[in-house]
Subunit: 430 residues, 2 copies
């Protein structure tokens, strides 16, 4: 009896053992991530496993230290290489076009694709996954969310583990670093941002991190991956962190918690609610301890409860290593025509939650008056901050859960009645 | 250009889409886990994917609710099924024999094996993995450690993520539940154990959990998986939790931390150090917040830093689901002759760490006398507890790092000089 249940197939790419000939890669984009990948692949042991046959760049004249050995092209028609065609395409361009067209073309030609491009996946993930499924060709994107922490591909392969009904997470390292600094050092927003830029944690243009675009794109990727939800990022209740001030972190500490930029979603009851933005977490929440450039996701599994994955948000080297691990993994898999996914297109509702509120102004009403006014809108205060000498004209409170429209109406009424400014963040319950 | 880089292979088992014929499983062991698995597979959608063709039991006469539909045998020669032979063997017997012989026989016959058997893997993992490699047949054991949290298989496939140089973790849900109860409720060991048994978190015979055997077996599995280390469990510095008392948890809280049963290993410098047993963690340690039946592992990756995985330690349903996810995963993979692993046989050194120490007796010397005596053995006190009215005749202190032999000598000298008893646990630094 020597029949093997699933026979060894001659010529399958072996990994991590060396292959007779390295797998031929086409690299789209030779910027920070693509450059790091080219440098990794140029050295043993990876040079025995992979060979970058071509690199697509926008500007052939630009110097690319560490990638001098690459065959570069700026011509989109040569981006996917010549004959024989590449065995795997690594997309490290970022943005929508030309990445979308090139990835679709590669999949249609039967070339597996690895990408870290959350913007592309957020906007066109359905189309790409469907195209890969039709072609029976793998498309992998482990590096798109928590790049250094492998978990997306794991769940894609494990149907019972993947029985997820919601999640919450910290998915943007730049803003988590900034908020951690503001909480620890009582520094303001601008200083925290400057420090993040100095340390290389923030791009020269940090807009997409600070205004929440990066986080909501990752939310969309997670929703599609774990729930087959197809949402448009502009339909999600999403906020950036720019309105948070150092004082707010101090007030959060007084309330026994902290502020984090959170993505969260829930579909236990079938319909989808989701949000992305600053949130108050009590110190006992598992995400409250995720500090600095750490990222984390907590997934709610129907059978086994909350599964928690955390690690450093990734720099170019880690992202490049994750792309290569994806490429290596697909060499060891049997491609197959997957059953078409059925996407649930939805506009997520913005859930009712408690709220962390800052009120500031020269002549703030007494707490009891604020509570009275809020209660007229169905907003009930749970805690109010002690008056603070170092923050005159500012008060903070926590509310019981209410709909976003209720808190918006209540604070608008408060602003016009008392001539004050307000800021609010959600409360994320454990 | 329609050449696919890795061609679709006709007849490969598709997953999660339905296969024309369910994959034939041989189930070894129909106890709690095996019974849960049989029940899961009996219902759609899993009944379309899998069919349990035979179940091996010790006692044919015993009633097995939920498994009445199984074809049972108590004959080891029929355990691996008839003709055609099963496509996957699920080993849920536990213990060494007959599991070892049956798993080896299955692998030699080319039948892939899934197991949750940490005792078997701890003692004979080398032999089993080598046999699987020689046969080019998969052997999976995701359920052996943190059964509900998929991470072992993930790293097996990802060589760059798997560049790990050490780990620490909480891998036994029973003892973590007990210590959490003792920390929260100031209950003693016996009450905590009784509660764990009432809730079904502890076996009727909890010896292997309480005396640390379960934890050190999982440590051995992790060492082999992440470091190619082959250790004998009896060579590891391992302690159970039976000597911990409720007062110790209260003292740990006073020191700003808690006590947990920890497995830890380090091979940054090439040589291996490891231990398993009760440890003091400051509240800022990521493992300090892992409470109840939660388990967690923190892996130190050379490139991306600490990767943290946590979730509920698993009951029979979750373990069964994890075994089935392993089985499904291997249906989608291309088996291959793996390069033989090179096992590093080692006796791990017991690292120098700080120590949490309890001293108890009717006539305890003054703290300064204790400090003087310890210093003669190279043991330096870092903190001492405040005298406590509710724990007369007991004192706790934390030491600076020193070798296990130093603390052992110092405490032996203290015991004989002062006629007192002592208890010690390691300090796990963040």
């Amino acid at each position: 009896m020597t029949t093997v249940a699933v026979p060894v197939r001659a010529g399958a790419h072996a990994y991590p053992s060396a292959t007779p000939t390295p797998v031929r890669l086409a690299l789209l984009g030779v910027g920070q991530v693509g450059g790091a990948l080219a440098a990794l692949v140029a050295r043993p042991p990876l040079s025995h496993q992979f060979h970058v046959e071509s690199g697509l760049v926008r500007d052939l004249a630009r110097e690319r230290p560490g990638a001098e050995h690459l065959q570069l092209t700026a011509n989109l028609r040569h981006a996917l290489g010549g004959q024989p065609q590449p065995q795997i395409v690594i997309e490290a361009l970022g943005g929508i076009e030309p990445a979308l067209t090139l990835v679709l073309t590669a999949l249609e030609r039967g070339i597996p694709v690895v990408t870290a491009n959350k913007s592309l996946l957020a906007a066109h993930g359905d189309v790409l996954i469907d195209a890969a499924g039709r072609a029976g060709v793998p498309l992998r994107y482990e590096a798109a969310v928590l790049a250094g922490v492998p978990f997306l591909g794991t769940f894609a392969r494990r149907a019972l583990a993947r029985d997820i009904t919601g999640f919450c997470g910290i998915v943007n390292g730049t803003t988590n670093f900034m908020l951690s600094r503001m909480a620890a050092g009582r520094t303001g927003f601008a200083e925290a941002l400057a420090e993040a830029q100095r340390k290389g944690y923030a791009e020269p243009d940090p807009a997409n991190d600070v205004n929440g675009v990066d986080a909501v794109e990752k939310l969309a990727v997670l929703l599609r991956h774990f729930g087959d939800w197809s949402v448009r990022t502009q339909d999600v209740d999403a906020q950036g962190i720019a309105a948070i001030e150092g004082d707010d972190l101090a007030a959060a500490v007084e309330f026994g918690g902290t502020l984090k930029s959170i993505v969260a979603a829930d579909w236990r009851e079938g319909s989808l609610s989701a949000f992305s933005g600053p949130s108050f977490l009590s110190d006992s929440h598992p995400l409250a301890r995720v500090n600095g450039v750490q990222n984390a996701v907590s997934l709610r599994n129907r059978l086994s409860g909350d599964l928690f994955f955390a690690g450093a948000g990734a720099g170019p080297d880690v992202t490049a290593a994750t792309l290569l691990d994806d490429a290596a993994e697909m060499c060891g898999e049997t491609p197959r025509a997957e059953a078409p996914r059925t996407w649930k297109r939805a506009t997520p509702s913005a859930p009712a939650t408690g709220w962390f509120v800052r009120v500031s102004g020269d002549r703030l009403p007494a707490d009891t008056s604020i509570a009275d006014l809020c209660s007229a809108y169905g907003v009930w205060l749970r805690r109010t901050s002690e008056p603070r000498g170092d923050a005159p004209g500012r008060r903070w409170f926590l509310t019981h859960p209410c709909a976003p429209s209720q808190i918006a109406d209540a604070l608008r009424a408060l602003e016009s009645a008392a001539g004050c400014d307000t800021f609010r963040a959600r409360i994320l319950e454990a």
